[in-house]
Subunit: 334 residues, 2 copies
């Protein structure tokens, strides 16, 4: 390993002068600078980031900590990365599997030291656990769980999105809409909020809310969505609409409906949530609540930058607006 000291010896200057050249901190005379640069090239020197970090107390790196790397989080991460890089920092992703233990470990003193700031997509921790986190490190929380006031937080208008999607299907003739995965669950505020929206759309339209149409799913996967809807079909419960709690789950519903010979949107209307890249391509086009990933990314990164720049005002709690993207899976579509 080539050290600054090696470069300094080669160039006949002190280590500090090399540091000043490399970091462009204090001005260095041109002839000296040239000699140092030549030595850097000749030896192939590159700074030791760990040593710099220890000494300077800054890593120029931001972590985005997610439950899993695929689907929704993968797409959001790709929006966040350029925003972080635009400020000259690196973005790294870490995975928690959504477990409270992993999320807590990610917020531990030891791990937070590795980053200048952290974006955490909360899936497992509750308000009390988060309240135990003591740190001044810039942190922005994402996701639908309840969090302490002192953290910056960005979440989606879940209830409104679910209401929009459900109301849209009611407007176009559906009367028995399955809420696929819309369970009332303290562990998943997201599903609870979306269920409330599903209910409100019914009430707003003067329709009964029938608990049999709330169908729980074991995990938020397409496979679970498909299986759950197949069970509904097999049970004989009549339905003419499906609001799936996420697009991934909706894709499972698409498969279940196709296998069962039910036509979309003629027999059953279908809407999801997240508006993933794939959603516009799955025939006949999946109507979905668009959460504006890009806007969410900008908001979250903006709050983080503000904190990293030294802002100490009160934390913000942003509810990102949503809109309904109507496609062929509902009758309002093209």
């Amino acid at each position: 390993m080539v050290r600054m000291a090696d470069v300094a010896r080669e160039a006949g200057v002190s280590v500090m002068t090399v540091s000043n050249v490399v970091n462009e901190r204090l001005p260095v005379n041109e002839p000296t600078r040239a000699r140092v640069m030549a030595a850097v090239e000749a030896l192939g020197y590159e700074v030791n980031l760990t040593a710099r970090h220890l000494r300077a107390g800054r890593t120029d790196t931001v972590a985005f900590i997610v439950p899993s790397f695929h689907d929704y989080f993968g797409e959001v991460s790709d929006k966040i990365a350029p925003l972080i890089e635009a400020e000259g920092r690196h973005l790294v992703l870490e995975r928690t599997s959504g477990s409270p233990e992993h999320e807590m470990a990610a917020l531990s003193v030891a791990r937070l030291q590795l980053y200048d700031g952290v974006l955490l997509s909360v899936a497992g921790l509750d308000r009390d656990q988060l309240d135990r986190v003591r740190t001044t490190k810039p942190i922005v929380l994402l996701g639908e769980r309840d969090v302490p006031d002192r953290f910056n937080h960005v979440r989606l208008a879940n209830e409104e999105g679910a209401r929009l999607a459900t109301a849209h299907m009611i407007e176009h003739g559906s009367r028995r809409i399955v809420g696929l995965g819309c369970t009332f669950d303290t562990a998943h505020m997201m599903t609870s909020d979306r269920r409330i929206g599903w209910e409100r759309a019914h009430r707003d339209a003067g329709l009964d809310v029938d608990a049999r149409y709330v169908v729980p799913i074991s995990t938020f996967t397409s496979a679970a969505g498909r299986d759950a809807l197949l069970d509904v079909i097999a049970s004989g419960l009549p339905f003419d609409g499906v609001f799936a709690v996420t697009d991934v789950v909706a894709l499972g519903a698409v498969a279940a409906l196709a296998e069962s010979g039910l036509r979309v949107p003629t027999d059953v209307q279908l809407a999801g949530f997240d508006n993933l890249d794939m959603s516009s391509f799955v025939p006949p086009g999946l109507t979905s609540v668009d959460a504006n990933h890009e806007g969410v990314a900008e908001t979250a990164v903006g709050l983080l930058h503000r904190q990293m720049a030294g802002w100490t005002g009160p934390a913000e709690h942003v509810v990102a607006p949503v809109r309904l993207v109507v496609r062929g899976s509902t009758r309002g579509g093209a």
Copy 2:
């Protein structure tokens, strides 16, 4: 920040004893150990990982460097993570956008220092550029590009997979199969290899290879796949099969066919490559070449572990076997 020195003072021992308790390196008498642990708890001490790294020369972290976070790479990352964690290390993801500059930067001396090992999915660098990388850091390269012998490398049986998929469609009656995205391109060995497989399937069956059926696409996205296939349809070129270079592109083809009123598999058979999670749910089920993400992950991580454990034998170049998963989008399916 609480330092080891603070714990040492609190417990009335030397810093080194604290270190020995925390790391369980040298044995410490039980009463002393208990006092140190009590002080650790009382002060909320956690080790400074940066300092440990600088001193010990080890980060217990592995990086997986990918072109982008979504789709294929997101799914593979989720397979890799548990394998790295099983050995007590952390996995972090970094993104290169597939650009040679970013990939080269990720392999720079400075950045490699941050990790005990690196998995790099090569998308932009060519053999010569990779050959300029001088390091003894454990590295495993993934992907379809040509790489120097001295690197461990895992790639897929691209040609064989493309041949399998194409031959399967020929066997079930297709005679004019579009190779969607299967261009001959030095920048993308992946597409070239898959094109060769597409060609070989034709020759094996005694069919002509018609260059008009090789359709280039601008990017490997569903949107590009859809647009390109719509152009083919508009051009009037007759076809009865589509082999898409990836499942993401195949999804675009699904959309184009549906919009154009072409039935799958009756009018047109369709097969993709990668067997993503979504592929089994998109009606009528996407026939796809399965690259066995899990097996690829195990192989790559195995090679990395071997290197991190000190193995200095010759590098291995693994070609991961593929198999065809037949679903409803081709006529052999259920």
